[in-house]
């Protein structure tokens, strides 16, 4: 590693040495070292939570590392703000675009690099420069279009143009293809190749193996905040990378009998969802959920799982297709709502525990009835009975070993695991026929994970139909009787739980399965 300087090769465009970053009790980056050669495309790949985004935020000056060094062209630099990062020649294309939607392309590009107190002069220069960059890199966008009116792919080009306009020599792209169509992705890759050809160094943060293999020169794999491997892309393959990404985790041991599958409880037929911005989040999803089985939805987060859960729970209304729960059919013409779905025997443990699952400003005994505040057992026609609520809360806490056993304590004062146990207890207590569970063990300690998993299986054995969404593959593998894989709002595959293995799921999740299928 140290040999580069001595044998006269140019120093790496960017080099990270021993970066550490801790948030509270979480070590987001542990001793991360990385070197990126000038004029290459370097992929950084890893699961969600592997520490990729934190690392890039440190490089771009959002966070300061607890220790470690950043070197650009061999020189140590201090990057304490975005302004410093820009000055050091770093440009970033954020996952959520940093664009002012009501501004034109030109205004967005100029913001922060106006070239003088008056816009006029800078604007004409910027316009010429945009034209030049456009032809040079195939990045054509109408400079006078309102950014909010542009398709997502064009908005991303504006982000790239912004960075190039600031003369960046290092361009970081954070999950750039998550929002793109396949055609747009192809175009993006052509642009990246053009950038590389002109000496720009590109860092591509992604979880998609296919992309890394298609375009990068080098790839760094991260897992659990650490760098686990560095490979020349030419020397590796999808299987190896998937294995490195997911790792050989200890498979959670769980006593589980084969599922005794009964009647269909929930039938989803050709369900599609278009969100308020006109983006199609769910494409034509169909599956049946039977009493007594756990169906796991595997997928990298952001591929429609959240939307699927919310639609099934009645929070969103389907755009096309239908959901049949018992004898009720829910569709765009006969929408439902969360209260009605609950009344039909559907319980929901939401993914976003903090914002949806509890009211952090409530004491535990009030959060313990959230969604069931109209339950006749909890009071009279108008009033809630505090004793009944506290009693209910205490029962739930005892049943699920929530600690501390203090219903009066504020909901926010419980640890993540105990909050989750309380929510699970609440949702399981009402004898549901269908249970939707999102990320049941995210941010939950190991002991609580086992407990929660056992409870979910016990509920299945009592004949409840369970839909489990998780980005943790080992969780899906431990619990699911059947696995559906989601990618870009579609169900791209189904495997029986006992046949599934991580690598295969990983390939399907990252959209490399078609490639495999095509190859075989």
């Amino acid at each position: 590693m140290t040999a580069a300087a001595s044998n006269g090769a140019p120093p790496p465009a960017i080099e990270l040495v021993g970066i550490n970053k801790r948030f509270g009790s979480v070590q987001a980056n542990r001793d991360v070292s990385l070197r990126v050669e000038k004029g290459t495309i370097h992929g950084i790949i890893g699961e969600n939570g592997a520490g990729k985004s934190t690392l890039m935020s440190i490089v771009y000056g959002f966070y300061e590392a607890d220790s470690g060094e950043i070197r650009i062209d061999g020189q140590k630099v201090n990057i304490r703000s975005s302004a410093a990062a820009i000055a050091a020649g770093i440009g970033m294309v954020h996952q959520h675009f940093m664009l002012v939607e009501s501004f034109t392309v030109l205004e967005n590009v100029m913001l922060g690099a106006e070239g003088g107190a008056m816009l006029k002069e800078g604007a004409s220069k910027a316009r010429t420069e945009l034209l030049r960059l456009g032809t040079e890199f195939g990045l054509t966008v109408d400079p006078d279009a309102r950014v909010g009116d542009l398709p997502v792919g064009d908005q991303q080009r504006v982000e790239i143009l912004k960075a190039l306009f600031r003369h960046c020599s290092i361009l970081i792209l954070d999950e750039p293809t998550g929002v793109l169509t396949p055609q747009e992705t192809d175009q993006l890759f052509r642009i990246l190749a053009a950038l590389k050809a002109r000496g720009v160094t590109v860092l591509l943060i992604t979880h998609k193996l296919k992309e890394v293999l298609a375009i990068t020169d080098h790839v760094t794999v991260m897992r659990g905040g650490e760098v686990v491997a560095d490979r020349r892309t030419a020397d590796t393959n999808a299987n190896e990378l998937a294995e490195l990404m997911v790792g050989r985790k200890v498979r959670l041991e769980l006593e589980k009998t084969p599922a005794a599958i009964r009647a269909v409880e929930l039938a989803v037929d050709a369900l599609s969802l278009v969100d308020e911005r006109g983006v199609t989040r769910l494409h034509d999803i169909s599956f049946n959920l039977h009493a007594g089985e756990i169906v796991g939805i595997a997928g990298v987060s952001g591929n429609g799982q959240s939307e699927l859960l919310e639609t099934l729970a009645g929070i969103r209304t389907p755009s096309r297709g239908s959901i049949r729960l018992r004898d009720t059919v829910i569709s765009a013409d006969s929408p439902s709502d969360p209260a009605a779905m609950r009344a039909l025997g559907l319980a929901h443990v939401p993914e976003d525990r903090h914002r949806l699952g509890i009211v952090t400003g409530f004491p535990a005994w009030e959060s313990a009835v959230l969604g069931y505040q109209r339950d006749p057992k909890l009071g009279g026609r108008f009033l809630l009975n505090r004793n009944a609520m506290t009693g209910r809360c205490e029962e739930l806490m005892q049943g699920f070993d929530v600690r501390p056993l203090q219903p009066q304590l504020g909901s926010s004062k419980f640890s993540g695991g105990n909050q989750q146990k309380l929510i699970l207890a609440r949702e399981m207590a009402c004898q549901p026929r269908v249970l939707l569970v999102g990320q049941p063990t995210r941010g939950v300690d190991i002991g609580a994970i086992e407990f929660i998993h056992r409870e979910i299986v016990a509920l299945r054995d009592r004949g409840v139909a369970i839909l489990l969404v998780s980005v943790e593959l080992d969780e899906i593998l431990a619990l699911a009787d059947r696995v559906l894989v989601m990618n870009q709002g579609r169900i791209v595959g189904e495997i029986a739980g006992k046949d599934a293995d991580e690598r295969q799921l990983g390939l399907m999740m990252t959209g490399s399965a078609e490639q495999q299928r095509a190859a075989s």
Partner: protein
């Protein structure tokens, strides 16, 4: 990221910090007095004496407090739903109109035991109606409730001027007010009520509305903290997305909370129109709607705190009147100034003192722990 949970114990969070905020407002008020050459301590003495030194003073203090309880409760109910109702002033005005319209229509037909409750209901209903329109516009048309309620204050004022000049004006009169109601449409003075049981107190504008205000406090307490709807309102105010998850409809909560808020503000009309003026006239709300904002902020949106804060503001209004009389350089507007300062320090700057109080507290706790360990 969600807000960092406070490291402070409850007594600091809901006791000490609010008191520090109010004290800062009062210190600034003291500086203002000192600037205009008045002695703040003398002023406080006169103010307290004026507000609480006599049955007469108490009567006025409580009379003012009555209106503030209504408007303070109004602001707080909306606040629990996550809404800022600046329209208390206009809702109170229209509430008074409701009471007055019913009184004028029926005071020769119905006996007091029928008419007075009817007029009280009308005050609440008119106030609620004036609040429901902005609520509806927020819930279904997306207009911002703060701006709409401000506009509705002015619309209420214009409407009242129009009605009193062109519709309700007593034909024989030049001044813009209606005829005086008959006895049937008046709420007895507290002095009269006490007289029924043989207790003699000074005759002041204080009337039975205070009893209604206190009943409203109890009702609001029960509604907000113990009812199913209150639960839904608080859930919506604290965590809108969790509320939707829980099957609560936000639009419905907005409309119900604002209707109740408006009804409470409208009840100012009970105190002023049925209790004191016994006729319809202009400007009888006199800023009580805005005082309600200060009262709710100071009382931390809790009925008990609101009663205390209303008492304080009642005392400021009554004592302030005495003060203006005793020290000619001070005017009653000093009270308005203090009110504004309390809104500033208890509302907009509510978190200003938290960082240093927290640091101080943690240091004290650490020192104490160290002291204990070194001794033990």
């Amino acid at each position: 990221m969600s807000a960092r949970p406070s490291q402070l114990p409850r007594w600091i969070e809901i006791g000490l910090l609010p008191i520090i905020n109010v004290l800062m407002a009062l210190v600034v008020a003291g500086l203002i007095l000192w600037t205009i050459g008045a002695n703040p301590f003398e002023a406080i003495a006169i103010l307290v004496e004026g507000a609480f030194g006599s049955g007469y003073g108490w009567g006025y203090t409580l009379y003012y407090a009555t209106s503030f309880i209504f408007t303070g409760l109004a602001v707080s109910v909306a606040f629990h739903a996550g809404l800022f109702n600046i329209g208390g002033e206009g809702q109170a005005y229209i509430g008074g109109l409701g009471a007055g319209v019913v009184a004028l229509a029926f005071d020769n037909l119905l006996p007091a035991p029928v008419l007075v409750p009817l007029a009280i209901l009308a005050a609440a209903a008119f106030g609620a109606a004036w609040a429901i329109v902005p609520a509806y516009l927020q819930a279904y048309r997306g207009s911002h409730i703060v701006i709409t309620t401000i506009m509705f204050n002015f619309l209420a004022a214009a409407l009242m001027v129009y009605l009193l000049v062109d519709v309700f004006r007593d034909p024989g009169q030049m001044s813009t007010q209606s005829r005086t109601f008959t006895e049937n449409a008046t709420l007895p003075e507290m002095a009269t009520a006490f007289g029924w049981v043989g207790i003699k107190i000074s005759s002041t504008p204080l009337n039975l509305s205070l009893v209604w205000a206190l009943i409203c406090c109890v009702l609001v307490e029960i509604f907000i903290w113990r009812s199913r709807l209150g639960y839904e309102i608080r859930a919506t105010g604290l965590a809108p997305r969790a509320a939707i998850y829980a099957g609560i409809k936000p639009a419905r909560v907005v409309i119900i909370a604002m209707a109740i808020s408006g009804a409470l503000a409208g009840s100012v009309g009970v105190n002023e129109i049925l209790g004191v003026q016994h006729r319809l006239l202009l400007e009888f709300v006199a800023g009580a709607g805005f005082t309600g904002i200060a009262v709710a902020l100071m009382g931390r949106n809790h009925p008990f705190g609101i009663v205390l804060a209303s008492l304080l503001f009642g005392a400021l209004y009554q004592g302030g009147a005495e003060l203006a009389f005793e020290i000619p350089t001070i005017t009653r507007e000093m009270i308005i100034t203090i009110q504004g300062l309390i809104i500033l320090f208890s509302g907009a700057l509510a978190y200003m003192n938290r960082p240093w109080v927290e640091r101080l507290y943690l240091r004290l706790v650490a020192a104490k722990a160290q002291g204990a360990s070194s001794h033990g």
